[in-house]
Symmetry: C3
Subunit: 382 residues, 3 copies
C-alpha cells in the first residue's frame, strides 16, 4: 500500500508554525524533541529515534547522503537558509490542508497562510481557547463583561477558524466535570482569573494563566455552541505536563455530556494512552483520534502505535496530524512515518486476509484525509 498512500495528499489536522530564524546545531537539537537538551550526562539528542530519522530521511532532501553526520547536516541546513529548508520539507510532505494552532508563539513563527504557501496546501486556523481568555483579561475586560466578551470573540473567530483547541491537560488536567458551568460558577472563575491577571501585571509577566477547572470547562462549552471540532491536548508533551493527568479517559464525564451536542472532539497525540483513546473513539460518536507528535518521535516504530490505536478505534474516526512545531523537518517526518505506518497496518491486514485490497484503499483514503475533511467540513481541495 505504500506507493498508493504516498500518492495521497494528507490533511494535517493539527500543527503549529515554523520558525523564521536560522538555527545552528544546538538550536536544531533543541527543537527535535520535547526537551531542549539532555544535559551533561545524557548525550546528544541526535541519539534518539527522531535524531536518526533526521539523518536518514531529511539529509537527502538537503542533497546530503542518508545518515549524514549531525554536524554536516546542521552545516548544510545553514548553507541553504531557513526559507529554502522550510520550502523543501513542507512541499515534500504532500499535504492538501494544514490546521494550524496559532495560540503558542513564544517566538515568531510562520502564519497559516505562509505555511500553506510553502506546502502548496491550504492553511487553516485553529483557535486556542485558553490563549483567547488570557488575552481578554490582559486587555482589561472586567469580570462582569468577561463571559460576554469571550462569546463575542468566539463569534468572530468561528467565521475564520476551522476549530478550537483546549490545553486543559497542561493546566488543570483532563479530569474535567461534564456539566456546562452555571452563570455564577463562570463569574467566580472569571474573578479568580482577573485576580491572577492583576498579580501577573504587578509581577511584570503580563498575561494571566488559565489553569482553573471551571474556566477550561466554560471555554469548551462556549466553543461547543459553534459545532466546530474541539481539539484537546492529550498525553505526550514537554516536561510542563503532568502526563498522568493527561490520560484521555479522564475526559469521560465531559465526553458523555458533549456527545449529544454532536460537536466533534479531537483527541490529539494520546501516546502512551493511545489504546485508551481508541476505546473512546469507539464508544463516543463524536470522538476522533490521532497519534501526532509521537509518530515522528518514534519514527520507524510508527506502525506499532497506529496498529495499537486501530485495535478499537473505528477506521472512520482516525486522523492524520503531525503536531509539528518550529522545525520544517517535523512536518516532513510526521507525514513520512504516518504513511509508512498506515501502509504497514493495511498491508498486514491484506496479508492476513482481514480485508481486501479495495477495502484497504478505501480506508487509506478515509484516514489520510476523508475523515478530517468530513469532521472539519473542509471541502475538497483545488
Amino acid at each position: 500500500m505504500l506507493e498508493e498512500i504516498e500518492s495521497l495528499r494528507l490533511v494535517d489536522h493539527h500543527c503549529h508554525g515554523v520558525l523564521v530564524r536560522e538555527l545552528d546545531r544546538e538550536g536544531l537539537e533543541g527543537k527535535l524533541t520535547e526537551t531542549s537538551s539532555l544535559g551533561p550526562l545524557g548525550g546528544s539528542l541526535f541519539d534518539t529515534r527522531i535524531g536518526f530519522a533526521v539523518r536518514r530521511w531529511c539529509a537527502p532532501v538537503l542533497d546530503l547522503e542518508p545518515h549524514a553526520s549531525p554536524d554536516d547536516y546542521a552545516a548544510r541546513r545553514a548553507d541553504l537558509g531557513a526559507t529554502e529548508v522550510s520550502r523543501r520539507f513542507l512541499s515534500g510532505a504532500g499535504l492538501s490542508d494544514l490546521c494550524v494552532d496559532t495560540g503558542f508563539t513564544p517566538e515568531p513563527l510562520l502564519e497559516p497562510a505562509e505555511l500553506g504557501n510553502l506546502a502548496g496546501a491550504r492553511g487553516h486556523q485553529v483557535v486556542r481557547l485558553e490563549d483567547l481568555a488570557e488575552k481578554v483579561v490582559a486587555e482589561g475586560v472586567g469580570v462582569s463583561a468577561f463571559a460576554h466578551e469571550i462569546r463575542a470573540r468566539l463569534d468572530t473567530c468561528a467565521g475564520d477558524a476551522v476549530g478550537f483547541k483546549s490545553i486543559a491537560a497542561y493546566r488543570a488536567g483532563l479530569h474535567l466535570s461534564g456539566e456546562r458551568p452555571s452563570a455564577s460558577e463562570i463569574r467566580a472563575a472569571a474573578e479568580r482569573l482577573h485576580r491572577e491577571g492583576e498579580r501577573a501585571l504587578a509581577g511584570g509577566s503580563g498575561l494571566p494563566r488559565v489553569s482553573d477547572e471551571t474556566m477550561h470547562r466554560f471555554l469548551v462549552w462556549c466553543a461547543a455552541d459553534y459545532g466546530l471540532p474541539i481539539q484537546f491536548h492529550v498525553g505526550y508533551g514537554d516536561s510542563d505536563v503532568d502526563m498522568h493527568k493527561a490520560d484521555p479517559l479522564l475526559l469521560t464525564p465531559l465526553l458523555r455530556e458533549l456527545e449529544p451536542t454532536g460537536t466533534p472532539v479531537m483527541l490529539l497525540h494520546n501516546y502512551p494512552y493511545h489504546r485508551h483513546a481508541g476505546y473512546l473513539a469507539q464508544v463516543f460518536q463524536n470522538v476522533f483520534v490521532d497519534v501526532s507528535l509521537a509518530t515522528h518521535n518514534v519514527a520507524h516504530r510508527a506502525p506499532v502505535l497506529l496498529a495499537e490505536l486501530l485495535e478499537l478505534a473505528p477506521f472512520g474516526k482516525v486522523l492524520y496530524a503531525s503536531d509539528a512545531y518550529a522545525l520544517p523537518e517535523l512536518y516532513y517526518l510526521g507525514a513520512l512515518f504516518f504513511r509508512r505506518g498506515l501502509a504497514h497496518v493495511l498491508d498486514e491486514g491484506i496479508h492476513d486476509g482481514a480485508w481486501t485490497q479495495a477495502d484497504a484503499s478505501r480506508i487509506a483514503g478515509l484516514i489520510a484525509s476523508g475523515n478530517a475533511r468530513r469532521a472539519y467540513e473542509l471541502g475538497v481541495p483545488i
Copy 2:
C-alpha cells in the same frame, strides 16, 4: 499449533445470552461493538476490525463468499433466520462448556441451557451479585432482613451456579477496600440502597442501582464464603464505564484480603490493562485472567493481546472467554481469534526454542479448558 488447537473444545468461562429476535443491518451493526452507532460523522461500524472479521470469517458460515458486503451479509442473515444463524455459529465455536452471566437482560436472550443445546455444550449459570441485591430491594425486603435475605438467595444460587460476578467496575469503580464490611456498615449501605429503591419506585424506573462501595464489597465477601469463583468486570466496556476506575490494579487491596480464602478471582476482559492483570495473576495465588471482549474486537490483533497478557501471567492462570452478547457471531469469532492468537504465541515460542512442542501442547490444553475446569470444578464433559 493451529490445527491442534482447532481440535480442542474450549470452556467459554464468561459469556451472555443470544438475542432471540431477528436483526436488520442497523440492528446488527448496533450489536457488533460496545456502541450502537458511530453517528453521522463516524462512518459505518463495519469499518472496524470486528466488522471486517464478520465479513471475512462469518460470511462463509452463512454460505457467502469471504469479504461479502455488509448488505449482502445482513440479507443472508435475515433469510436464514435467527435460530439457524445462532445454531451455525454456536455449534461452530467448538465449545465444551459455557458459563453464562444471566444478570444482564435488557431484552429477551437465550437461557444457558438453550445456548448449550445450540452449541452442543454444557451451559452453566453465573449469578450477577448486584442484580441479585437490586431484586431483593425491589421485591420489598426491608433493611433489617436485607443481609440475611442476600445470604439465603446466595445459598440457593450456589447449588446451581458455577460462579458469581461483580460489576463494581461499572458503578463505584474497582477501588474497593479490602476488609469485609461490619454489620453496621452493611446496614447503612442497605439503608442507602433502600432509599434509592424508594426513589426508583417513585420515579417509575422500578429497580434501584447498586453503586455503593460498601455494598459491592459486602456482596463480594458474601460470595467468597462459597468458594465459587468470583468474576469481576475489568477495563473495556461500553460508554457507561469510567474505564480509568476499572484498572485491575485498583483491586489490589481486596485481592490481598481475598487470597487467604482461596476463592478464585476471575478478572474479565482487562484490556487495555491486560499487562496489569497478568502481573496480578502472577503475584496473587487465586487470580485468573482473560482478554475476553477485546479478543474478537481486535480480531487479527488477538495474538498481540495474548502475548502481552502472557508476559507475566503464569500459563496455569489464563482462561478463554468470549464475553459474547446478543450476536451469535461473537461466540464464533471469540473462539476463532482466541485459537489463532494462542497458536501464534505458542508457535513463536517453539520457533524461538523457548519451549518444546510437547510443552506447547500441554499449555494449549491448560488455557483452552484445563485451567477453567480446575477453577470452576467443571469436571470432564461427556
Copy 3:
C-alpha cells in the same frame, strides 16, 4: 548484532545478593518470580516464561540438555551445590560491574565483593535510604538528633557507595511532593517514625517501617546533596506493592525539582509503565531508565519491552540491570535476554535503514555499559 553484544561486558546497575543456602525444587520455584507459589489451583511456577527460560537456557550451564525437566534441573542443581551453581551463572553473565542494593536481606546473601569475585567483576554498594533511617531509629537515636545522624551516616556511605535507593513505591507510593521538606516538617516526620519505632519495639518486631511521604522525600533530598545517582523502585514488584501507586509519572513534581541539582535519577524496572519512563527520560535531563526484573521474567519477549522503552527514551539514557535476587540464574538470564533484546532492536533498525551498523555498535556500547559508567562515575574496569 548479537555476536557483538555478547562480547560486551555489562554494567548491572541494580541487583541484590545471592542466597548462600541450598535449594530444593520448591525453594527454587519460590524464588523464580515475584511470588513464592501459585497455590493449589495455579499450577507450577515452571509454567511461566521465566520457568521455561530456566529449563532452556540454564540447564546447559549445569551440563543438562536444553528443556530439562524441572525435577532433573533441581536435582542437578543440588548435586553441584550452591557455590558452584552461583559461580557458573555469575561468571557466565559477562559483567564488568555490579551495583548491589544491600538493604534487603531477609536471609543471608552474598555481599557485593563476594558477588564480584564470583562474577569476575567489580561489586559496588548501593545504600537503601529507608533501611538506613529505620536502623537509625531502631538504634535509639532521638528525634532531635535524627536529621543530623541521617546526614552523618550518608556522609560515611557516600565515600563507599556508588548510589542510593528509595523504595517509596512500596510504602507511601511515588506521588511525592517536589519540595525539599522544611526543618519542622522533618522533625514532625521523625517524631512519627519514632513513635512507630516504639510501637515496633513493644510489639517485638524491632524495626519501624518508613512509609511516610515526608520521610521518603527528606531522605531523597539528603541523598541528592551528594550528587550520586538515586534509584527508585518503579512499577513491577511483589504483592506488597500497590502497583498503581508506582507509576513513574507520579514522580513528575519531584523530578521537576531535582533536575536543576543535576543528581541522576535512575528509574528501575518500570514495567508495565516503561513507556511512561521512556517519556520521563526524554524530557528530564537527569532521568535514566531500565526494564530490569521484567527482562528475565518475560524472557523471549524482552525485545518487545526494550523496543517500547526506546520509543522515546534517548539512547544515552537507557541502562542495563537485572534486579536479580537470591537465584544466580537470574543474573545470567537477565544478561542473556537483555543482550538478545538489544540485538533484536538494533538489528531491526539496521534492517529498516534507520541507522548504520557503526551507529548501532556505538549505541550498543552506550546501553551495555557506557551510560552507567558515566552516570555512576565508575571509571573503566581493569
